[in-house]
């Protein structure tokens, strides 16, 4: 196990380095002149002095390699410079918004697990019956409905029937749990249901695969009852892929956060990304895109390690 962990840890270093390079390249080389874009781009009447000042502020007057070195050195120290919009350090701005997004992500995951595991199992056990069709149609339907539109529908409903207004201020859970719940319940359901649609489908197909395994056939052949086969043999063995899945669907979750926080005007990390893009706040965009990739890689690493912990076949390969 120790060798496996060491191997996996070593493998993420080139990936993260590559991700940092890619973000750097996307932001500096492809777009042409970032400074020009920030100052208003295509209007054509930009003061040369202003342009030079902006270039200096962004470090764009330096040679590319020096810029790259500065960026990497910043990445290593988690120092991503200052936001062009607020003038605050990016890391500080991020830390303000992180608790909200983490809470939303955690609660949405809980909601989705509670919905998706029982439904996915049921669909697999009754493959090609009306129960399976119904669950599949509901989960495919859930995947088809854009997350932001579910948010919009929620708000339409709340506005029309309850005269709801967007929350003016976010109340953290530890300050006033009830006020926090009132703000978070709709976004959590919006993100969670979509996430559940993904996991239900995946649970169905993993359980289906497990049901085809030899040991399940043996269990049936031994004359075990249906319930014992499904719960003791199939469910236990398909939980592992489902755990993995909850981790790998992290990407879905982030996409969900971006649009849902925008719809509900919640000041979280997702909306921070959208706002930074809208304000052409490139240092922030660059930092956030990298940090999201970073956390995505770490989550995947943790998932792989859990997997190897439970399934010795993987770590000995």
């Amino acid at each position: 196990m120790r060798t496996y962990i060491a191997k996996r840890l070593l493998l993420i270093i080139p990936t993260l380095l590559g991700a940092a390079t890619l973000v750097f390249l996307i932001m500096r080389v492809i777009p042409g002149d970032v400074a020009l874009l920030i100052l208003g781009g295509d209007q054509g009447q930009i003061d040369q002095k202003q342009l030079d000042a902006m270039r200096r502020q962004l470090g764009l007057d330096q040679p590319l390699l020096v810029q790259f070195g500065t960026w990497l050195w910043g990445v290593v120290r988690f120092d991503f410079g200052k936001s062009l919009w607020t003038g605050q350090p990016v890391t500080e701005e991020l830390l303000i918004r992180l608790p909200l997004s983490l809470q939303l992500a955690f609660m949405a995951t809980m909601v989705s697990v509670m919905i998706s595991i029982p439904l996915g199992m049921l669909a697999a056990v009754r493959q090609d019956s009306w129960v399976d069709y119904l669950i599949r149609v509901i989960s495919i339907g859930g995947l088809a409905i854009p997350g932001f539109w579910v948010g919009i529908l929620c708000i339409l409903f709340l506005v029309i029937f309850f005269g709801w207004g967007p929350p003016l201020e976010f109340t953290p859970l530890w300050v006033n749990p009830w006020a926090n719940f009132q703000i978070m319940v709709w976004p959590v359901l919006t993100v969670g249901y979509r996430y559940a649609a993904v996991t239900t489908r995946m649970t169905r197909s993993t359980v289906l695969e497990v049901l085809r395994e030899d040991y399940i056939r043996t269990a049936w052949a031994k004359g075990l009852q249906g319930r014992a086969v499904v719960i003791r043999h199939a469910l236990k063995n398909s939980m592992l892929p489902v755990i993995t899945l909850i981790g790998t669907e992290f990407a879905f979750l982030i996409g969900g956060l971006v649009v849902t926080e925008t719809v509900f005007t919640l000041n979280g990390v997702g909306r921070f990304v959208v706002d930074a893009v809208a304000h052409r706040d490139y240092p922030v965009v660059q930092a956030l895109i990298f940090l999201i990739a970073f956390s995505f890689v770490i989550v995947n690493l943790l998932v792989d390690l859990t997997y190897a912990w439970f399934d010795p076949r993987i770590r000995y390969r």
């Binding site: 090609d128 854009p146 919009i152 197909s205």
Partner: protein
């Protein structure tokens, strides 16, 4: 001796299933996979609507009429009008074109480039494989929507930029799946045989490997279609997709749509139904196709 080999070979070959005509294949698919057929029906309907938009749309989707702002859904304007007095139904009908265009081009580009890279990676192996795999790992480190968002924000809001932004994140996903199946195809005896006969590398790849990885490629393509339409809607909603006044479904929901929630809820209602229905059709079809083509999921 030679005849013996031939005979034993003939005896070992299982009888092939009778080849179905195209129409028969469709009927068989519809009977065994009713959900998939329903999906196909929605897709065909959407294509017809997009193709005949000029005929079907009752109004010009771009024409603003300030005397008709926020008209309720009625016999004249089935889905009502928006804040500029534009007919929402006409805009949704024209919007089908953008959704289909972005969906098809983005998933086709992404899956094809990714698929080719996957085949190259598997067939060449060695350093080429190592390099491409690392590159794909790096691209996979970014969640799909986030990478699309970053690319779209750099390229600026326009339909063709959205296509690029959506197709790039598909590439590593396609490469990974196709590489895995190309690796197992490569081990087949017939590939060894054509190699031994001295076939050139491009010939082996194009004539013997590519046709045999078409199943996962097609599954991926259909799966990504719905996802690409959703991504287009999300990017347009966030203001990074098509620019006003293009009738894009996501764009119709963005910005002011929610601020008229009380006055004109239909503005925020109907485009969402259109997106959901379209993506639903593609997902239903893709899901059944996967079930039909993937032997692992077939009912034994």
């Amino acid at each position: 001796m030679a005849t013996n080999v031939e005979l034993s070979h003939a005896a070992a070959t299982p009888r092939l299933a009778p080849r179905l005509s195209f129409a028969e294949a469709i009927i068989k698919f519809a009977r065994t996979k009713p959900i998939g057929a329903a999906g196909a029906l929605i897709i065909v309907l959407m294509m017809v609507v997009a193709a005949l938009a000029e005929v079907l749309a009752p109004f010009d989707p771009y024409r603003a009429d300030y005397g008709l702002q926020f008209a309720r859904p009625s016999f004249e304007h089935w889905f009502g009008t928006d804040e500029f007095g534009r007919d929402i139904m006409s805009r949704i009908i024209y919007g089908a074109r953008i959704a289909l265009f972005v969906g098809f081009t983005a998933s086709f580009m992404g899956c094809t480039i990714g698929g080719l890279l996957g085949v190259i990676s598997a067939y060449w192996g060695g350093k080429v494989d190592l390099f491409l795999e690392r590159l794909m790992d790096i691209l996979l480190a970014f969640p799909q929507l986030i990478l699309a968002l970053a690319i779209a924000s750099i390229l600026g809001p326009a339909v063709q930029n959205v296509v690029i932004a959506i197709s790039i994140p598909i590439i590593p996903r396609a490469a990974r799946v196709v590489r895995a199946s190309a690796l197992s195809v490569k081990e087949n005896v017939y590939v060894e045989a054509v190699n031994a006969l001295g076939a050139s590398r491009p010939r082996v790849v194009l004539q013997h490997i590519v046709p045999n990885v078409m199943a996962p490629y097609i599954i991926l393509l259909t799966a990504q279609l719905g996802a690409a339409i959703l991504a287009e809607a999300a990017l347009s909603y966030l203001g990074l997709g098509a620019a006003e006044p293009t009738p894009s479904w996501g764009l119709m929901l963005s910005g002011s749509a929610l601020s008229y929630a009380e006055k004109a809820p239909w503005i925020a209602l109907f485009p969402g139904i259109a997106i959901s229905l379209g993506v639903f059709g593609f997902n239903l079809f893709g899901d059944s196709l996967r079930d039909a083509l993937d032997p692992k999921l077939r009912k034994s």
